[in-house]
Subunit: 368 residues, 4 copies
């Protein structure tokens, strides 16, 4: 969790800019002997890929992943498996068309990181967004596919649950719907309504925010650790590190603030083999440690700041100006953040799984 590396035992380091030759990720600490394949990684990458509907950027990025290290073909079964050493994944940038940057060359884009990058590094790199490009999230998704392979028995899924002011109806929540609409939305009725709404936003040269919910089922009790190694703290860091994210909550989240202790507590009952909770306001985490219930995280994505409507801005010489950000931008970056949220959940869990196993010698709680 230092600059471009995330995780402790299962850790990954991403690199690359949208306007360079390639981007990639190095996954370190992966258990040996796990079957992985470029195809499985590609499946996850393809879900994040732009240009799949009119609601995402029309840039063409093939996002073709290559495994450069850390695997071998097991002669016993002919399957590609991890060796336990660093897995290097690379995605070449293929759509580096020469753009006209004259509009933004000397102008900061409001709400964009180009001002703060300039301040921090003393560098004015107006061509593309450098590391601030959402393209970096492709590397996370690739790493997340490896993390999933390291988490047998855990199912991680995500859904867009809000776009602009429009929320889903949880009564209609159906995971099977997520890949049936361009919004990764578990509520098919909401997804249908959102099409019209987002068409309007897009045609106005505007953009809009969103909320994504990520759920991990099958996490045993015992992962996570007090105090600064809380599962919730690492999930908060993980989700907040995604581009444009401004809020993260676990379980009932901010709504818990409005509840009383009587209403908020998840009561317990004796189960056939172990106790269970009658509700999951906790989002599967108590005291920073998983309790066996689904781990539930939501994060808020702000509307993309790159819009073609003119905004007041300033030149690099500190003079008032207006700026219009042309180019092929997502009207709602939150949509493509859905597979990214899944990946970050997988990456956090894989790390905590190994850390828990390291300290206790168990896979999960005392009965696991």
């Amino acid at each position: 969790m230092s600059f471009n590396t995330f995780g402790h035992l299962f850790r990954f380091t991403t690199w690359g800019e949208s306007h360079g030759p390639a981007l990639g990720v190095v996954v370190d600490g992966c258990p040996p002997g796990l079957p992985i394949s470029e195809e499985a990684i590609q499946r996850d990458l393809d879900r994040r890929k732009p240009g799949q509907s009119r609601f995402t950027t029309q840039r063409r990025e093939d996002d073709q992943v290559r495994i450069l290290s850390g695997t071998f073909i097991d002669e016993a079964d002919g399957v590609l498996k991890t060796t336990g050493t660093p897995i290097s994944l690379m995605i070449e940038n293929t759509d580096q068309r020469s753009k006209d940057y004259s509009e933004i060359k000397d102008k900061y884009r409001p709400g964009h990181a180009d001002f703060t990058y300039h301040q921090k590094y003393g560098i004015r790199d107006y061509k593309g967004s450098g590391r601030a490009s959402a393209r970096e999230t492709a590397a996370r998704v690739a790493a997340g596919a490896i993390a999933r392979a390291a988490l047998p028995g855990v199912t991680i899924r995500a859904s867009l649950v809000q776009i602009g002011p429009h929320k889903i109806d949880y009564a209609r929540f159906d995971w099977d719907q997520v890949d049936q609409n361009p919004f990764f939305c578990a509520d098919p009725v909401a997804a249908k309504a959102w099409e019209l709404y987002l068409d309007g936003i897009r045609k106005d040269g505007n953009s809009v925010g969103a909320v994504i919910e990520v759920v991990a089922e099958g996490v045993p009790p015992g992962w996570g650790a007090p105090i600064y190694g809380k599962l919730s703290a690492d999930l908060a860091s993980a989700m907040m590190s995604i581009n444009a994210v401004k809020g993260v909550e676990i379980g009932a989240g901010f709504e818990a603030a409005a509840l009383t202790g009587i209403d908020n507590a998840d009561e317990m009952r004796a189960g056939p083999a172990a106790p269970y909770f009658t509700s999951n306001k906790a989002g599967g985490i108590l005291g920073g440690i998983s309790n066996g219930d689904p781990v539930v995280v939501r994060f808020a994505v702000k509307p993309t700041s790159s819009i073609i409507s003119p905004r007041l801005s300033v030149t690099t010489a500190n003079e008032d100006t207006e700026v219009i950000t042309k180019g092929r931008h997502d009207p709602c970056v939150g949509i493509r953040a859905v597979p990214v949220g899944e990946a970050m959940m997988a990456l956090v869990l894989a790390d905590h799984y190994l850390r828990h196993r390291g300290q206790t010698g168990r896979e999960g709680g005392i009965g696991y």
Copy 2:
């Protein structure tokens, strides 16, 4: 950010349980030559100390801090200063009265970490909450006082902005009010109204959640770093690591999800020396890097799970039962989380300040 340590260059490690002889913190990486004193640390600790009004637990904890290492008296001016080596701070536990634990000895408390600790560590330590006790936050507050000393020019303040469903009116926001009421609330009218509300909660043997807002002014542009070292990501981790916190947001936070790009972008204007933003929806952070505006973080605290109303639960032998948590618990743990939030803000900023200076050789942005 590994188990009980937080931070990279400016880092701290906390230890201790509420029912042991003491608790404490080791602060490492602090710049040398900073004036600090037990008095200054004590001032911050006294704000967090329980028993200061009827709205916090009536436990008596003196929270008297001792500096055990890392300082020297400068013979030039007679002032106690940091040496640059680890500063060890210890707080002895003085109110370890022998309690009757028979009620909870064999029963899990719903919403409490005792179930997950038992699962993780295989240990049933029903006396007190072990590391899950909010008493650990005293160590953070002590460390935070050191961090403040390392941040000249930065002012960090916090306010309770919501208790249960009742929010403050930002039109009445006045920092000078914060220490004038038992809620650390910047809105005096709200604070007055809350007294009645919380008296009711308390008399019902219930508890309630809260939202805290922390603001850091004077942070120069340039602190923080892409991608996993984002200032926002570390703040999210820091706040989420506080007991009972279930949500964190920066600037407009979850509200940004409902906004359009036109409404959400903070426009820029030329200032006398440097550009400024006409609004602060970003909460002072763009692309994970501070932009010179106040850094604004809010976090949601759930209602304490330890309430005297009976709740359905399970015994350690997996049999249905009911549990009542007696003892002197806070009806709203969010109140005492206010100084804790300030401390965590200071600790994150001090780390990012040093990391930025290390990488760039500058104190802040290109003009700083």
Copy 3:
């Protein structure tokens, strides 16, 4: 391994100066449920304690350790055990007699860290050596006792194998002799001869260096990891971090440079259950990973720089001078480094054990 913390999963942080009220260590990441006791820690501390023979400093330091956190009494068997949360150990400084520092107040001591501390921190703290005092090693020894408890089946022992130019005869090597002489020396004949030699050194107001060999038996194959997580690299860092250490070697060490591949390779033979090596030039480590043979490390300790013979030096005002370091210093700091070396070996192994178990789910190699 950042400033005052060492280790990854099993990690510890030390604090304190020789002239402050106390020093201590926080051990984090320890497996839960391990029996530990102040008595067991004290036994190791007492071996390091000064004043046990005329060959170590005559300072009286009781080095009485207190466990402040991280343990509980298991009601099932009445035994004190680790909880899995931070174990804080404190040793109060009892012999802080007011000394006359006028001789060294304004003079650097050649070969001593006071010059570099002054340069680094801008602080001239001539009273004691601050963190550079060998007294810090008491904290390591205390932590090492916890590490030993986390390493069942592993036996760690050390011996002084050279003092000044005088080496032991390995033909006489007998671990049972180590605690029978004031040098922790496995060769009783050498130990006898060294008494006379070191008496001479001491009477001359001089000091002398030493070499310590540390051996860990019972380490299974598989601990350690390529490339920067090599067991050998962490052992090198661990031993080099001990005061006055200027060299570290594994197995044949520097002698391996003079050998040919034919002479240096440890050949293998089939054993009853697994292969074994016919020699151990590798010191139990191949490619940074343990091979099942005893792990063998040697480290060189320079002669203490604090001697009463006058040495050319410089004042803090950069004027030529002479300096004599009075006080009660060890004529050979290497002697008391023996238990410190054992502790560092235990601490490195405990960390690698947990890291290996975390990544692979195994306690050792494929057959383990």
Copy 4:
């Protein structure tokens, strides 16, 4: 310093095997605005490249480096510079000729890491050495070229000072000779004599060890930090992490053990602007912190274990056998370790430089 990552603020992560498509390194935390070029990196790589004399392996590896990220062309001067974000460097493997591995498929090579990798990871990857291949050091050398650019005023050079039992004569030490002979040896007379010696070793199908000395001049006082962040401890870890290294020493190193305090102490004298030392037994480091003198490190490389002379070994089925390692192996891997040692010195210093600047705000000591 966790598995495949080294460093804290200036850190790098290597990946890749000798028999995969490529290997590489990601350098993170580099200061922005530093001029770098593929040419400069290539120059260092070419010194490490095999096949440059008959004394190194005849494998043909072009070791052509590509910069994939983290740089931009400064429009002001047309120079390629670092952006401050991760620098990804890749070297494709070009000489992956299909070899006949039947000899070693089921046999462990004595002294080689294949046994321990098999034990640790449960994987038998007999084709090449995986991560244990010395080819990984190309990635370090590439990273080291970046580190050099981050260290203005520091000159880092290295020399082979011993090969087998034959040491150089320091009276003839001349840095200008290092690139004039196939041994990177500063003593031209020794280098000449070594040719005959190593020809004999090579013709015998044998191999031999070596000692390398690395010297950094221009390091200001103040870099490094107590206790586990000692410059010496990180250098020990860095050098010990190089393939086949079995010993590391600083300054007088193991010889210091044989000296008395009178003989070992570097005395000080007043210089024109600051004190200086009349000798450098300390190797430029006191208390883990640089003292302004040249930093001097030596490390011992064992003879390569891959030799064509038959050695007793064991099959993977635990049966006695003999093994001959054919292929194109270095008769003395120590030769090509010379530029690797320089790189590791640069990488350690760059990290400590930034850490020191972060904590203190200074570039070096109090006068710097």
